[in-house]
């Protein structure tokens, strides 16, 4: 009950702040604790390094055949719909397959969706570290071996939410895989930027 009231309060607060705008994603409030992982250049980066930017966070893996390419394309299209707001937004692609996703692989993966190299950061790291980060986002993943073909190895079942974090590191909106209209995601992002402002 308390939780329901809490969620309702989040809805009301956001819609009050945005003058009745109906959010496409699911409003949420959660402070994300700092964490440090390895980026596509093999350098350590912390979540706090992105303070000041609005972040779209997605958990996936570069071998992902259907879900991640769809979500990454939607994210790319979302960035394109942001227009002049694009400069306030950055994407974190966090690997749930750190054993295979080396920084080099991540770099080639993200540059496919962002040739400029400015808007997407790929993150990998020690499996335990990734696990901790995923837990904070309530993201879930699990290796699934492929029978009859050891060469292909395994797939990873995973949640495919897109998380919108504000410039202070607070999770504000969650987009479910069914909410994948890039135009409407972009509208939500712009709305959140309007509420919480830019640096």
């Amino acid at each position: 009950m308390k939780r329901v009231v809490g969620i309702l309060a989040v809805f009301l607060l956001l819609s009050y702040l945005s003058h009745g705008y109906q959010f496409y994603g699911y409003p949420y409030i959660q402070k994300i604790k700092n964490f440090t992982l390895i980026n596509q250049d093999g350098k350590e980066v912390s979540f706090s390094d992105f303070r000041g930017k609005y972040l779209l966070v997605f958990f996936g893996y570069t071998f992902c055949p259907d879900v991640c390419p769809t979500s990454m394309l939607r994210i790319k299209e979302t960035l394109d719909y942001l227009g002049s707001y694009k400069k306030y937004v950055h994407v974190l692609f966090i690997s749930v397959d750190p054993e295979r996703d080396t920084p080099e692989l991540l770099k080639r993966f993200i540059s496919f969706y962002d040739p400029s190299g400015k808007y997407i950061t790929g993150l990998t790291g020690k499996p335990e570290e990734i696990k901790k980060v995923a837990k904070m986002f309530k993201a879930y993943y699990e290796k699934v071996p492929i029978k009859d073909n050891p060469e292909v190895g395994y797939l990873v079942d995973h949640t495919a939410f897109i998380y919108l974090i504000d410039k202070k590191g607070i999770l504000r909106i969650i987009f479910r895989p069914a909410n994948d209209d890039p135009k409407r995601i972009a509208q939500d992002i712009i709305q959140v930027i309007k509420i919480f402002g830019v640096e």
Binding site: T62, D66, V67, R108, F112, V144, D157, A178
Partner: protein, 138 residues
């Protein structure tokens, strides 16, 4: 006489009821050069009056191909292997992102956007259907 005629009609009907498979808008998803997996999507139409079933797919570009379905189980996206895919008469089955797809695993080479990839679909009744699917970023 009337009876014989009916029987004949039934036999003729039985012989001539057959599926007719039409493939529309096939495409292969463009994936980053590092990716080892991708998928083929299309609309499989059966304009005939008998069901048919997709039982296999072949291609040279990968080590393994199979019929899959992506399902959302409490928010977790899973791939489920499907042995065969039946297309009822006068209807269609859509293979699209987030749903049914032909999973291409263990790509032997990178695919270029715009290139055509050859596939052979194997149907229970219609036999082999060869198609060329362009690689698209969508």
């Amino acid at each position: 006489m009337g009876k014989i005629f009916t029987v004949l009609l039934v036999i003729v009907g039985f012989v001539y009821a057959k599926p007719e498979i039409v493939i529309e808008d096939p495409w292969v998803r463009a994936v980053p050069p590092t990716a080892k997996n991708t998928a083929l999507f299309m609309v499989i139409k059966n304009v005939g009056d008998d069901p048919d079933t997709l039982i296999g797919v072949k291609t040279d570009i990968s080590k393994m191909v199979s019929i899959h379905k992506t399902v959302n189980q409490n928010g977790v996206m899973k791939m489920v292997h499907v042995d065969k895919l039946t297309i009822p008469p006068n209807s269609k089955v859509e293979l699209k992102p987030g749903g049914f797809h032909i999973m291409i695993m263990g790509l032997k080479r990178g695919l270029k956007i715009g290139e055509n990839v050859k596939f052979t679909l194997i149907f229970e009744k219609s036999g082999r259907i060869i198609l060329e699917a362009p690689v698209k970023m969508k």
